[in-house]
């Protein structure tokens, strides 16, 4: 059963140096506050997994938390580049960043395999692309019935998955709605999981389109209102498009980023 506590406690207990950590949320419900707490607690050598590394991964990379990034699209959606990510890849600053790169279809299926207790997933994907040349984790597989050639990707099973949701009840059952992304799969694929929620309520009233994660597949729940900002939680907040645009200037400049980082860490810049 999920333990309900503070975000700081949860990160301290669940996220360890060197872990494979997935923060998921496809544009919607991105667990940004949890990412900041990981920065604050100074985790190192993480293998960060995420289909769409955006601002929060730019921040984690810039803060030097990551050793490796496993992903399928790394940009500032609707704005442009992630400059901390580019700086790490192009100039090795603040540290070199190893990449394992997939397509969305491949990453989504890696989570599905992970959630299903299977070592791999099969898809029609990567065909003819250079991705299958540079990514070792993409292999051909033959259909035993038709002989057709398809593509296999290995399961991803993070040490910790972190997602944000609208609500949890006091038993730790989690409810989220709106675009559900790949969050259920990320939690089910992980060894440990943390869900930050907008609020903890007495009873989870049914909501159309809601996904419920039973308490017994969640390790910890932390109440963090606005924990997805600048992304949003349908029914609670709107996407802060200006914040995404403003990140571009901060991210472009190592010094301005350093000031931002000091703010997050709660120390004078």
């Amino acid at each position: 059963m999920a333990l309900i506590g503070t975000l700081a406690e949860a990160v301290a207990e669940l996220v360890r140096d060197g872990d494979v950590v997935a923060l998921e949320g496809f544009t919607h419900l991105i667990p940004v506050a949890a990412g900041h707490e990981i920065i604050r607690q100074g985790r190192r050598d993480l293998t960060l997994v995420r289909m769409t590394p955006d601002i929060v991964y730019d921040q984690l990379i810039g803060a030097g938390c990551a050793r490796k990034l496993v992903f399928s699209w790394g940009g500032n959606p609707g704005v442009g580049s992630l400059h901390r990510f580019r700086d790490a890849v192009e100039h090795g600053w603040p540290a070199p960043l190893e990449l394992e790169e997939h397509s969305h279809a491949g990453m989504a299926n890696r989570y599905v395999a992970g959630a299903s207790g299977l070592p791999f997933a099969v898809l029609r994907g990567y065909t003819g692309t250079d991705l299958s040349r540079v990514t070792a984790n993409v292999k051909p597989i033959t259909c035993p019935f038709t002989g057709e050639r398809l593509t296999a990707v290995p399961a991803v099973n993070p040490d910790v998955s972190v997602v944000h949701a609208q609500r949890a009840d006091r038993a730790g059952n989690v409810q989220l709605w709106g675009l559900p992304g790949v969050q259920k799969e990320a939690v089910l694929a992980a060894k440990r999981s943390l869900v930050t929620v907008e609020e903890v309520v007495d009873e989870l009233e049914p909501v159309p389109g809601a996904v419920v994660l039973p308490s017994w597949v969640v390790t910890r729940v932390a109440e963090v209102p606005g924990g997805a900002h600048p992304s949003y939680a349908q029914g609670y907040s709107e996407r802060d498009n200006d914040h995404y645009a403003a990140w571009d200037a901060i991210s472009r400049d190592r010094e301005r980023f350093g000031d931002w980082l000091a703010g997050i860490r709660g120390v004078a810049p």
Binding site: H28, S81, R149
Partner: protein
């Protein structure tokens, strides 16, 4: 003019896989003008989204709220894109080559030590493979329109005829490239992109100068009509409301 030209290429009840930016503008414009039955599918899981303003990202709340159905990301790729249910996939490109191959991964250097690191693949490789056809929307210039992309993120026609078929790719690949200057389509025989239309006021020389290979011009080259009042009004309504 790019969005208007791209919108015009859509018709009837086509199912369109839409990325954010120009593709989304074009698809929404078409749905608001000549193709009200267009079905917009966003990779964030919104099937049949009917936004009244342009979403700023592919995962905006307005998409889920107006969709016929909302599904998970694995489902949108496995149940909806992969089996060939989508008629038209819209893609952008950082680099595009004469055979319609797309690069959104790295430019210059090599993969491990790139000159410029781009965002990467996203849904594009499978969109390019599985949609019946693909429309590419991209600004034209010698740096983006190259003889051969530095990295094949999404497969077009490889190096020419027969390659898609040999790989067993179900869709036809890019059948239309809309730029700020005009339109290119693959030659049915050579599969090379040739200029088939220019926008009003654009001369062929200018398009040639913005192309990084020896551009072939179709003998049936047309000049696109100027945007109609209806198109301009719909475009203003969409972008005005979002701005």
């Amino acid at each position: 003019m790019m969005s208007v030209a791209a919108a015009r290429a859509l018709s009837g009840g086509q199912r369109v896989f839409v990325g954010i930016g120009l593709p989304s503008t074009a698809a929404n414009l078409a749905r608001r003008t000549h193709a009200p039955d267009l079905v917009l599918v966003y990779e964030s899981g919104a099937l049949g989204a009917k936004p009244d303003r342009l979403p700023a990202s592919i995962g905006d709340g307005v998409l889920a709220e107006t969709a016929d159905a909302v599904v998970s990301v694995p489902e949108v790729f496995n149940y909806w894109l992969q089996p060939g249910r989508i008629d038209v996939g819209f893609l952008g490109a950082a680099q595009l080559d004469r055979f319609g191959n797309i690069n959104t991964t790295v430019i210059g250097g090599d993969y491990a030590n790139p000159g410029v690191r781009l965002p990467g693949a996203g849904g594009a490789p499978e969109i390019a493979a599985s949609c019946r056809e693909v429309f590419v929307v991209v600004r034209q210039g010698v740096r983006s329109f190259v003889d051969r992309v530095d990295f094949v993120t999404s497969f077009g026609q490889g190096r020419g005829p027969g390659e898609r078929e040999a790989l067993g790719l179900p869709g036809r690949g890019p059948t239309l490239v809309v730029t700020d200057l005009g339109e290119l389509r693959p030659d049915p025989v050579t599969r090379e992109l040739v200029l088939t239309a220019v926008h009003p006021g654009v001369r062929v020389d200018r398009v040639r100068a913005a192309t990084g290979w020896e551009l072939v011009v179709s003998p049936d080259l047309v000049v696109n009509p100027v945007p109609t009042d209806e198109e301009l009004a719909a475009l203003r309504a969409l972008t005005g409301a979002s701005g």
